[in-house]
Amino acid sequence: MSEDTTTTEITRRRMLQGAVVATAVAAGAVALGLTGPAVAPANGADTEGGDSFDEVFRGRRIQGMPMSGDGHHAMSGYMVLIDGRELHMMRNADGTWISVINHYQTFTTPRALVRAAVDSLNGADLAPLAA
């Protein structure tokens, strides 16, 4: 994937995310997502499922954002990216999370999940997710 494609993809996700936030506001829900350029939480505390994050961890850009709509996003309600590539994830009935990289252990937050995936990847790139 070229740098241009990566940038385009992130931008599209951000737009999509903006739409999600707008919908949540319209519905009277508490919107925790970002509407502008993503920033890391100032307090450094681990994120809950509804928060967004965008930071560098072990040299990799990791992002997380609430999602709604099609496919598995509708189930998990959240999406995480590593260097712009989506990490397939799923929410368990008890509120914990798993990913395709660490499928057989659960994580309490998307940020813990994506950091564990970065550790497991050891510098490797995620394969593109099939639609």
């Binding site: 009935a93 990289i101 499928h103 057989y104 252990q105 497991s120 490797a124 995620l126 394969a127």
Partner: protein
């Protein structure tokens, strides 16, 4: 009748026959189709939608059928081969003969965990991963580094003592034997073995590591052990239930077999020793 044996009792010739059949299946391209099938279900089986291969009652019959199809594919190459099982309550260390260079090869090396010995090392020229979650095309293991120990005999006995097969909501939050065995709740047996092996076995494409089949053969053996301990209990749900496979529903992707068809494994094979 085919007899599935403990991997620890296989002769050198039996190990060679198993390894060679697996390598030939890989060479023909059929092995990777099994990896794809597994991952398709890993990705689509969720707690709130249709679920068949995992986190649901049909975890056990689905994998029994999956293993049978794999075993039959091996037997088309070498009719003498059966799936060995890995009893991790007794073979518990990276020094086990299971991980020998004449069998599955050893632990991963270096920080990357790349397997460098045995027939499934990518450097052997016969084992390049094509269906995979990331850019690494080689087998990875991190034996015992995942922070979870292999199940003990006491862990297994505790799970086998649970009388109910499965219970609503028939997902990762269920009480019952199936979910405790699978590992999302209670005593975790199945999941933590994937974590103990680590690397490729931790991913949705875990069948890329041939130890996957030996691990699931052990899980299959434990299902039979549970049945013998609870003759009055059976597969649940019996009646049609939203999003899960009931006793007489056919299972995707094959749509030619039901859990009821698979309850008696002795129609297909036996184990050398009951657990």
């Amino acid at each position: 009748m085919a007899v599935r044996k403990s991997q620890s009792t296989l002769t050198p010739a039996e190990k060679r026959a198993f390894v060679n059949a697996v390598l030939e299946l890989k060479r023909r391209g059929a092995y990777d189709a099994f990896v794809s099938t597994h991952n398709d279900f890993i990705m689509s089986d969720t707690d709130s939608t249709e679920r068949t291969g995992h986190r649901s009652p049909s975890f056990l019959p689905w994998h029994r059928s999956f293993l049978l199809r794999f075993e039959r594919a091996l037997q088309e190459i070498d009719a003498t081969v059966t799936l060995p099982y890995w009893d991790w309550t007794t073979d518990r260390t990276p020094n086990s003969s299971l991980w020998g260079a004449d069998f599955l090869g050893g632990d991963g090396t270096g920080t990357g965990g790349r397997v460098a010995t045995g027939p499934f090392a990518q450097g052997s020229g016969n084992w390049t991963l094509t269906v995979r979650p990331d850019s690494r095309n080689y087998l990875i293991r991190r034996l015992g580094q995942g922070g979870q120990d292999l199940p003990t005999r006491a862990d297994v006995d505790a799970v086998l003592a649970i009388a109910t097969y499965d219970a609503a909501p028939f997902n990762s939050a269920s009480a019952g034997f199936r979910n405790s065995l699978e590992g999302w709740a209670g005593v975790n047996v199945h999941n933590r073995v994937h974590v103990w092996v680590g690397g490729t076995m931790s991913t949705g494409m875990s069948p890329n590591d041939p130890v996957f089949w030996m691990h699931h053969c052990m899980i299959d053996r434990l299902w039979a052990a549970w049945q013998s301990r609870h003759p009055g209990q059976g597969y649940q749900p019996v009646r049609s239930t939203r999003n899960v496979v009931a006793l007489n529903d056919t299972m995707k992707p094959w749509k030619d077999v039901t859990p009821a068809d698979l309850l008696d494994h002795t129609k297909f094979y036996t184990y050398d020793n009951a657990y």
